[in-house]
Symmetry: D2
Subunit: 105 residues, 4 copies
Amino acid sequence: MANEQLIKALHDCMAACNHCFDACLNEADVKMMANCIRLDRECSEICGYLEGALSRNSPVVKELAETCAKICDACAAECKQHDHDHCQKCADACAKCAEACRQIA
Amino acid sequence: MANEQLIKALHDCMAACNHCFDACLNEADVKMMANCIRLDRECSEICGYLEGALSRNSPVVKELAETCAKICDACAAECKQHDHDHCQKCADACAKCAEACRQIA
Amino acid sequence: MANEQLIKALHDCMAACNHCFDACLNEADVKMMANCIRLDRECSEICGYLEGALSRNSPVVKELAETCAKICDACAAECKQHDHDHCQKCADACAKCAEACRQIA
Amino acid sequence: MANEQLIKALHDCMAACNHCFDACLNEADVKMMANCIRLDRECSEICGYLEGALSRNSPVVKELAETCAKICDACAAECKQHDHDHCQKCADACAKCAEACRQIA
């Protein structure tokens, strides 16, 4: 049950981060979005990795979930500072994912 | 729309393949499952990769979807030969995913 | 032999692309580097994926090598337009990798 | 410098694990190799992931290196029990990689 919720949260977060990554690179002021772009990538990568690790019953899901929660927190904090719709949605997805990760970590 | 369906199909296929991979390694006759284990991994990897590529708007999603469909076909054909519930479910998920991949390839 | 060379080319290309990705996000004019950032990520991802696929004897290495060569070409063409040292080095690594990919595709 | 050595150790470990994974599935007694197959996959995945994370300057390389070292230890311990040449080589690569990971963790 907890795993199902986490897998959904990871999936949604990965998709939101990748969408935000792509949209940030199309913004007028890309420089302002540099840290957001970097964290979007980092966050989507680890969420995708953890999703796979969970579904194959990896012995290190707890450690990975803890690391993933840190990246989700950082990405949420960065995205929250930008008014773009894609950033706000990404911040929400990251916050939910961080919480779900902490429930198993 | 097509993308949403494909992303769901890829996600379900990745999860089914990883579950089947794990379950095959716990079966009494692992030798009989060797090719299934190999294809389960291959299929889960490419489905996970394509899911990420789609969500970041990669310029090669069509080529990847074509390659993914081939692996899904091979994994479905192998899994269909085994009576285990995890193999039958995996065969179904792979067949659906192959079809969804071909709609965008 | 061909595999050894390709694995080295993929590895070098992945590292050069990731280094260029990181350095582009630190440039003064990030907007001018937006397409480079996007392609650096795409190229590093598929090179990393193909490297893994080769080392586990995946049945679709030829198809993946063909797709990888396309991304390497695109990333090389983009990077060549920028004077930054990291872009020029990345363009070289991508060109070598594209050639190595085509030898097995 | 430390990073260069770690990247090489990760790369060698990923390749050795994937080769061992493939070779174990071709052994006469696959059942005896089930845990080895599982750990080979896990270890190759996290080594590949950490290699990418290092080359893009991820903010969580220390945490990931710590987790990677655990998997490398587990894979080395399992492989050491089997006489196959691919298992012995894999055990060596895993032990070196665990050590390199701990130097940055």
